[in-house]
Subunit: 319 residues, 2 copies
């Protein structure tokens, strides 16, 4: 019988990595290769780690839920493969985007196949409501991405609108990762609800951190160009909040940049976002949602896994 693993995060991370390295394969060799290449380029595996920790925090054994955890990362990978096609991205996690090496056709099909392969396995091996949670989550992710597309360059976007997009596009998969882990770990109704609330709040804060990094990180650590969100006219939360507190000339500058800006203008816009309080106000929001995530854990019984989930939420405050 498998021993319960120690609940320190490096171990959870290593478990997921080892699973992908040794056990991941689909029935289509070309798609397996495309997915493995993206997996080997890195990533923090936060979603599967949250699934495993949520299962242990509810009394389950992480080793029994490695497949389920892997599906959370693979849903994420499939959405990334499709994102890179529609964005014509050249790099992802510092290596060539799938579409660059395999072409758009294979990339669209690889994402579709991966979604289908995940659902095929989940419907065969997991009880209700796990298959429904995962498919509803994928619908939310796509819905959020469409909302985001429609909001491109919309300088009147409110913080509430932003949170709705982030909740669907990003936080829904974190919520589902925690929820499915809690379900399969044998959690009570209250524990499952607590894990879900944790994942939702964590995911919103995570997206906000991601928005900040787009302005403050260097390309090497980011794995993609800095200011990429601005170049795509995305309404990130630092921009939304800077526009709320900024004056008319800042707004006019952003408008001009969105109309016909050049990449060379990005550093100046980024400085103005900071000067208008966008980064500071975003950090306050990150504190708020990370705090909500931590507070959501209250109903869970004391455990090392619960502490690690809390530590993940605290980790969002480091940026």
């Amino acid at each position: 019988m498998l021993d319960k693993v120690r609940n320190d995060e490096p171990t959870m991370h290593a478990l997921v990595e080892e699973f992908f390295r040794s056990s991941f394969t689909t029935d289509n060799p070309l798609i397996t290769e495309a997915v493995k290449r993206m997996l080997s380029a890195g990533g923090k595996r936060l979603r599967p780690r949250i699934t495993l920790l949520a299962s242990e925090a509810c009394g389950g054994n992480a080793l029994e839920h490695l497949h389920l955890a892997a599906y959370m990362e693979l849903i994420h990978v499939a959405t990334l493969i499709h994102d890179d096609v529609v964005d014509n991205a050249q790099t992802r996690r510092g290596v060539n985007a799938t579409a660059v090496d395999f072409g758009n056709r294979v990339s669209v099909l690889a994402g579709d196949y991966l979604f289908a392969w995940i659902f095929k396995n989940v419907t065969a091996n997991y009880p209700s409501p796990v298959p429904h949670v995962l498919s509803a989550t994928l619908a939310d992710i796509c819905d959020g991405e469409v909302l985001q597309l429609r909001a491109l360059g919309d300088l009147d976007l409110s913080l509430g609108d932003y949170v709705e997009v982030a909740s669907k596009k990003t936080a829904s998969l974190f919520a589902a990762s925690a929820r499915c882990g809690a379900i399969m770990g044998g959690g009570t109704h209250d524990e499952i609800a607590a894990a879900t609330t944790f994942g939702r709040a964590y995911g919103i804060a995570f997206q906000m951190v991601d928005d900040v990094l787009d302005l403050t990180a260097d390309e090497r650590s980011l794995g993609k160009p800095v200011g990429n969100d601005l170049a795509e006219r995305k309404m990130t939360v630092p921009l939304v909040l800077a526009l709320q507190s900024g004056n008319g000339s800042f707004r006019a500058h952003v408008e001009r940049f969105f109309d016909d800006g050049q990449d060379a203008d990005i550093p100046a816009i980024a400085r103005e976002i900071d000067a208008n309080g966008g980064l500071a106000a975003t950090r306050a929001q990150i504190h708020l949602y990370a705090g909500q995530a931590r507070a959501a854990l209250q109903p869970l019984r004391p455990s090392a896994a619960k502490e690690q989930l809390a530590a993940l939420a605290d980790g969002l405050l480091a940026g």
Copy 2:
């Protein structure tokens, strides 16, 4: 209580059309609009008609399975939306392709959302194994499309290889349409197996008919350019079979066309495929598979629906 509908095909078709017109909506208005536009452009609705007929042939009531039938068409629509993105298609069913009107980003997301929305509904409302059959089918479709991509321009492709691709890419959804209809109609194990075998054979013959039409139809009735498959270097069954019986100069001509051919060369290649027996040999294969489809119906109890399924198979021989 709903009356059982008369099992004539126009009625089944009208039922599906009325369902799409009056009842189809998703939670995302932009995606609903994109899908409705594609639905209103036409299509024979063969997959949902087969689901409804299979349910009635197994003793069920078609009116109770309209949602399930609609999902079969919508899976097909979602794959078409993605196909048109990767093919950069300009038209589909005679109207603008989704990607032309809505852009590649929305098209990729619309396809993803539609898959997710279907699985969300199916996992919520249908018992095992229906959700698994549908997700496994989508995996097969993608797998078949990847196989087809890898076989582009491969003049050594055998008839067996071709049938494997057609079985996955096209026939799997017909098989699933019949299978799920039979399951939900309350069919016995043997009836469900019979319906599945019917759908598989029907789908292979259907793909072969589609291949023939690409060479023999006119653009107006086809809804897309004639010889499109040749332009894309697809190994259609008439080409595969013409190469088997043709001489070296025909093969060399096809090779040259695939290397650097122009659209203006397509009519000459099409004539040579016919002259080398490709169309006649394909019609023999269509007879074979349509016959298998008809024969597969034998275990089903006598019914008007069974006769209509047989008539669908016979209809493949008209081309």
